[in-house]
């Protein structure tokens, strides 16, 4: 579904990603692991077109999407959950969700009600301003918002940061259900327990380079991986 081929990404003049390649098959949950500053966020941003890579290619469903603007990518079915939440502080929780809504004609897509069902804590806050939510609530909202665009591929950047353990558990279970419904997920995470339980395949990134890849089960046992990820 998604194929990243040897991308190089820069912030201004600083070279952050070096020849990063990865592949996500439809219906898979793929994780991207690495320590702080390794380049996980940057990889996701490059895919989303927020920091377009200067070299290399990103293909979505076989189509070249280099240099395509983020809003078009979103319409092509990528949902993005940033690590720093980026809630629309002025809008109420409900409005945050409404403006993201992008119903898919024909199929039954996500609606506000269904999202609230998924994340019950959000429901009573429907009319509270997004900026006033607690850190964890904002995180939930960011995920909910991404779902509202009815994505086929979800880019999750540290979705569990700041979530209470019970929430993490619920979330893990929900993602599993979504996966069964056919959602594809690319996950950048530090929370190993959560990640490993969920994903099918993993990439290890360090200093802007992909160091290892493989089915998660193998990765966990790999000594180098443990070192790089700092376990």
């Amino acid at each position: 579904m998604l194929e990243v081929q040897g991308i190089h990404t820069y912030y201004g003049l600083s070279h952050i990603l070096f020849n990063v390649s990865l592949k996500v098959q439809r219906g898979q949950v793929v994780c991207l692991l690495g320590r702080n500053g390794a380049g996980k966020t940057t990889t996701l941003k490059s895919i989303m077109g927020l920091v377009p890579p200067q070299r290399g290619r990103v293909r979505l469903n076989g189509e070249d999407v280099n240099g395509v603007e983020p809003y078009r990518l979103a319409r092509k079915g990528i949902g993005y959950v940033p690590d720093d939440r980026r809630i629309f502080a002025d809008l109420t929780v409900g409005e945050n969700l409404e403006i993201a809504a992008r119903p898919v004609p024909g199929s039954e897509g996500w609606t506000k009600e269904r999202v609230y069902e998924l994340f019950p804590p959000l429901k009573p806050m429907d009319s509270r301003r997004g900026g006033l939510l607690s850190g964890g609530e904002q995180k939930l909202l960011a995920i909910a918002r991404a779902l509202m665009t009815n994505p086929q591929l979800l880019l999750l950047d540290e979705p569990t940061e700041g979530l209470a353990p019970i929430m993490v558990k619920i979330f893990e279970e929900r993602i599993r259900r979504l996966k069964e419904l056919g959602l594809t997920v690319l996950l950048a995470e530090q929370n190993l327990k959560f990640t490993l339980g969920l994903s099918d395949y993993g990439y290890i990134i360090d200093n802007g380079r992909i160091r290892c890849e493989g089915p998660v089960a193998e990765l966990v046992d790999n000594e180098e991986v443990r070192r790089i990820c700092g376990i």
Binding site: M48, L50, E69, P70, Y71, A74, R75, G79, Y80, P82, R86, F88, A89, D90, L91, E95, N96, E98, I99, A100, R102, R145, A146, M148, T149
Partner: protein, 296 residues
């Protein structure tokens, strides 16, 4: 000095203040809208107001001052302004949104300089003035004083604009997107919305209101170069005391401005000019973020 402090005098003063407030409101609501969505202190707003007035004059004159010409002027002058702003936005402004707000201020200042000179080139330095159609000429008795019909007309237009704008920004998806884009443009893009056009539309809409204000004010004043300077500062003060980006705030601010000015004349004619400024100082001292909720 001595002024006759009659009830009728006060009433007429209030009414005039109110109708003056409507012009101020129309102009400043546009400014406030742009401030709210684009976060840009649009200094060129006054120039667009001036262009609106000049354009209205040209159109009205082309129809030899007939009533139809007047109404056409009221309709088309704002559109002229909208087109100008659309060109400026698509050609220049849309490349700058990522910049620091103060840089955008600099940009709109440059725009103000350019538009000011272009106005002079196009229309020259002569004073102009247009006449309201017969329907709106003369006055009607209100509370014992003669109240110009045109001002009555303004009193009806202002609230219409306010309600329209309010519905647009709170009840429509566009309004919500605009408010979201004000906070985080990039993220709005990431949920699949083409922000660029949202911003363009917001900018043009705001400017259109400036043009509308200019067109509406043209029968009551003489249209001259330099109109831009006098209005812009008032408009900024109004949106500030009302709460940046808040439509009703702009309304409240305009009313305060219009009424302090006109009633101030009765109380202390010599220093009537200080009242609006004093009002701003008092309000901001008591409520540091303006009277109504601001989006900033």
């Amino acid at each position: 000095m001595e002024t006759s402090f009659t009830l009728a005098g006060l009433a007429s003063q209030l009414l005039v203040g109110l109708s003056r407030a409507m012009i101020l409101f129309i102009v400043s609501s546009g400014l406030s809208f742009i401030l709210g969505v684009l976060r840009v202190p649009n200094v060129a707003h006054g120039s667009l107001y001036m262009i609106g007035a000049f354009a209205a004059h040209t159109i009205a004159v082309a129809f030899e001052g007939s009533a139809a010409g007047f109404w056409l002027a009221m309709l088309c002058a704002p559109l002229v302004v909208a087109v100008i702003s659309l060109v400026a936005e698509r050609l220049l402004f849309c490349h700058l949104y990522e910049r620091e707000h103060l840089m955008l201020l600099l940009f709109t200042f440059a725009l103000m300089l350019i538009l000011g000179d272009l106005t002079k080139m196009t229309w020259g330095a002569d004073y102009r003035s247009i006449v309201a159609p017969p329907l709106l000429q003369g006055s009607v008795p209100v509370l014992g004083t003669a109240f110009p019909r045109y001002n009555l007309f303004l009193l009806m237009v202002g609230p219409l604009v306010a309600i329209g704008l309010w519905l647009l920004s709170t009840k429509t998806k566009f309004g919500k997107i605009a408010r979201a884009a004000a906070v985080d443009r990039e993220m709005v893009g990431a949920i699949g919305i083409n922000v660029s056009w949202v911003f363009a539309f917001a900018f043009v809409l705001g400017c259109l209101l400036a043009g509308l204000g200019g067109a509406l004010v043209s029968p009551t004043i003489s249209i001259t170069l330099g109109m831009d300077h006098s209005i812009i500062i008032e408009a900024f003060l109004i949106v500030t005391i009302g709460g940046l980006g808040n439509i009703w705030g702009a309304m409240v601010g305009s009313l305060i401005f219009g009424i302090t000015q006109s009633v101030g004349v009765l109380v202390l004619p010599q220093f009537a000019i200080v009242f609006p400024y004093l009002a701003v100082v008092v309000i901001l001292t008591l409520k540091p973020t303006g009277l109504l909720k601001s989006v900033w």
